[in-house]
């Protein structure tokens, strides 16, 4: 019996600031033991508890895709005790990862469908994972059109530039990257995510939308999709709540009867409509 | 001066629960009183030394719990 509270030891292989406001840092973590990497069998949408001895644990969405190898990618926002400590850690330092936790995006069920991904701010992490997974040669053929909408306040706050610039080059992805207000040196799209969605007007026929972002973005994106005729079952969202155990026991992340850590973090809008708004 | 009242109450409280009086010291020293500073350091150190290591209020996580 494995003690699921014990984190796998990992080493920080790469740590770099991800945004101009220095709030986000991206970490590439390498397992110390190859057998742990084997055991850590995950899918896009899942998260892990990042553990720093002496500081604690924080639940963070996995930004890498299992198709990218054994190393794990996380982008961490500096808000609390643990995340602040992580920002001060260096490449080569040892820490822990516990997981994978939670459910994942229903990629199997999404096969054969058109996919619309809408991301705002740093909520893009698990959607990056999803995109990488979908665009992998083994998987791309199984899905229809892929639309990727991603917005941030300024160009300097957009994450994963290397990836989305490549996606923009691809013919099999409709990639719309937008910033809130025009700034010098930015020749891409300008406008809020909901407005961009309105422009693109993705069709609900045989399609699934993955929407992840700050509450204000969700609030204004929702009506756009409603107007286009999307049904609650077609819209998939990912929640976050304060967590400790990450495995559905400790009692703080639940939204009604559903534990975000175990039953989520991925829910359809149809599910969420029947639950209290405790998130 | 407000602090003085708070210190008085706190000191009495800590003595009341069993923290030895010699563990907690207060003094007024102006920035010109280097000699008084030296004297007080000596006095405080001696007083604490005489009491030996602190036994109470220590959070010890080595204990099995």
């Amino acid at each position: 019996m494995r003690n699921t509270y014990i984190p796998y030891p990992v080493r920080i292989k790469k740590a770099e600031l991800a945004t101009e406001d220095k709030q986000l840092k991206t970490f590439l973590l390498e397992f110390l033991n190859p057998e742990d990497a084997q055991a850590f069998d995950y899918m896009p949408g899942q998260f892990a508890e990042l553990s720093v001895s002496g500081y604690g644990e924080i639940p963070i969405g996995i930004a890498s895709s299992p198709t990218e190898g054994d190393d794990l990618l996380f982008t961490v926002n500096k808000v609390g005790h643990v995340s602040t400590r992580m920002h001060n850690m260096r490449e080569g330092d040892v820490m822990g990862v516990r997981g994978p936790l939670g459910n994942s995006y229903p990629l199997k069920a999404m096969e054969g469908k058109n996919i619309v991904i809408v991301a705002g701010g740093f909520a893009v992490t698990t959607l990056r994972s999803t995109m990488v997974w979908l665009l992998h040669p083994d998987h791309r053929d199984k899905y229809g059109d892929i639309t990727f909408v991603y917005g941030a306040r300024t160009p300097g706050l957009l994450l994963y530039g290397d990836e989305w610039r490549q996606w923009q080059q691809r013919k099999d992805v409709n990639c719309a990257i937008t910033i809130d207000r025009a700034v010098e040196g930015w020749d891409g799209m300008v406008g809020f995510v909901p407005a961009v969605c309105e422009q693109l007007a993705p069709k609900p026929d045989n399609a699934v939308a993955l929407i992840c972002g700050p509450p204000v973005m969700i609030r204004f994106t929702q009506p756009v999709f409603d107007k286009l005729g999307w049904q609650p079952e077609q819209i998939i969202m990912s929640l976050e709540n304060r967590m400790k155990c990450g495995i559905g026991i400790c009692g703080r992340c639940n939204v009604g009867p559903e534990y975000v850590c175990k039953d989520g973090p991925v829910f359809t809008k149809a599910q969420l409509d029947k639950l209290p708004k405790e998130y | 001066m407000f602090a003085r009242r708070r210190f008085a109450v706190l000191k009495d409280l800590l003595e009341y629960v069993g923290i030895e009086p010699g563990r907690l010291h207060f003094s007024w020293i102006s920035s010109a009183e280097a000699a008084k500073f030296q004297e007080t350091v000596l006095a405080v150190t001696e007083a604490v030394k005489a009491l030996g290591p602190a036994k109470h209020m220590i959070k010890d996580i080595r204990k099995v719990a």
């Binding site: - | 008085a8 009341y16 007024w28 209020m57 959070k59 204990k63």
Partner: protein
């Protein structure tokens, strides 16, 4: 002297009148509990609901607590049933700018002295008490397989024996007549019980008193003084007090909680009455209040004018302890 039942009836009458005249939006009082010796805080919004109000020697919560813990905007003007200690806490809350005098309509009551349910239970160890009723100066205690009468005087809360102000210090209306202001006991004789102990015995006595603490914070939450939005025990960066049952963590919590009550505590006893494991935290708080009396000659909550002792100073305050 009116019986508590008579007082209860008068409270109901006054509450109905105030609510039907629209003078207040809510009357905070007590209603009869579902277990023996525990009336509970009740909020009456209509004259009909006012029928549920009661008054007895089992009203052990400090109702002034609910003046600061109510969701904003739920009721603008409230009436509150207040005996001596509660009225003194209302004074304290007004002085600390938590409420204004105009917001509260005080239904003053002379405190009969409240019963300590733990003391009654201790008279019948391991037995189940099913019903306790007041009969003059006695309690009729019924349980599974027994029925006995107990003189009320024997089982009052410890703080009620040494109460310095049984009558409300401020009020808008008096229910029943005023009683002798004090219960006659001398608080300074019984406060700070560990002072008699040798310094090296005190820590053990302190530990023994608080050893059963389960860190539920009922003492803090029952206390009208503890209204901080973020209590020091909840502060995380830095963390002043660990969450464990380690003796250092328990001691830190109780020492600091007691200290925060310095010069404010009215010795209402709500903390001890709320404690699920029967800890006598007054052994700690009574010492601080005695200290405040001796050092600065102050008794909290007696009037609206005097300055709280720890927010003022005098040039000649004692300072022998400072070198």
């Amino acid at each position: 002297m009116s019986t508590t039942q008579e007082i209860a009836a008068q409270i109901r009458e006054a509450a109905k009148r105030l609510l039907s005249e629209g003078k207040v939006d809510c009357v905070i009082g007590f209603a009869q509990g579902t277990v023996p010796m525990r009336e509970y805080p009740y909020f009456a919004y209509t004259p009909e609901e006012a029928e549920n109000l009661t008054w007895s020697r089992f009203c052990c919560n400090n109702l002034s607590n609910f003046l600061v813990r109510r969701p904003k905007g739920q009721a603008d003007k409230v009436a509150i049933v207040a005996q001596g200690c509660v009225s003194r806490n209302i004074v304290g809350l007004i002085k600390e700018n938590q409420i204004t005098r105009e917001q509260v309509y005080i239904l003053g009551v002379a405190s009969p002295g409240m019963v300590d349910r733990n003391k009654v239970q201790a008279l019948f160890p391991l037995k189940t008490i099913t019903e306790v009723t007041e009969d003059g100066d006695e309690l009729i205690v019924k349980g599974l397989g027994f029925e006995e009468r107990v003189p009320t005087k024997k089982v009052l809360r410890q703080n009620c024996y040494t109460c310095v102000m049984r009558n409300p210090v401020i009020k808008d209306e008096m229910i029943g007549e005023e009683s002798a202001p004090t219960h006659g006991g001398n608080i300074d004789k019984v406060a700070a019980p560990w002072e008699k102990l040798a310094p090296e015995e005190r820590w053990a006595a302190f530990q023994e008193t608080f050893k059963d603490c389960i860190r539920c914070y009922a003492c803090r939450d029952a206390c009208p003084l503890c209204y901080c939005h973020v209590c020091f025990v909840d502060e995380a960066r830095p963390q002043w007090c660990g969450k464990t049952q380690d003796e250092a963590d328990v001691a830190t919590f109780h020492i600091l909680r007691a200290f925060h009550c310095a010069g404010r505590c009215t010795d209402c006893g709500a903390c001890e009455s709320a404690c699920p494991v029967g800890i006598k935290m007054r052994k700690l708080t009574s010492m601080i209040e005695k200290d405040i009396r001796e050092l600065y000659g102050y008794t909290p909550g007696m009037d609206l004018e005097s300055q709280p002792p720890l927010s003022v100073y005098k040039p000649n305050d004692p300072q022998e302890f400072i070198k």
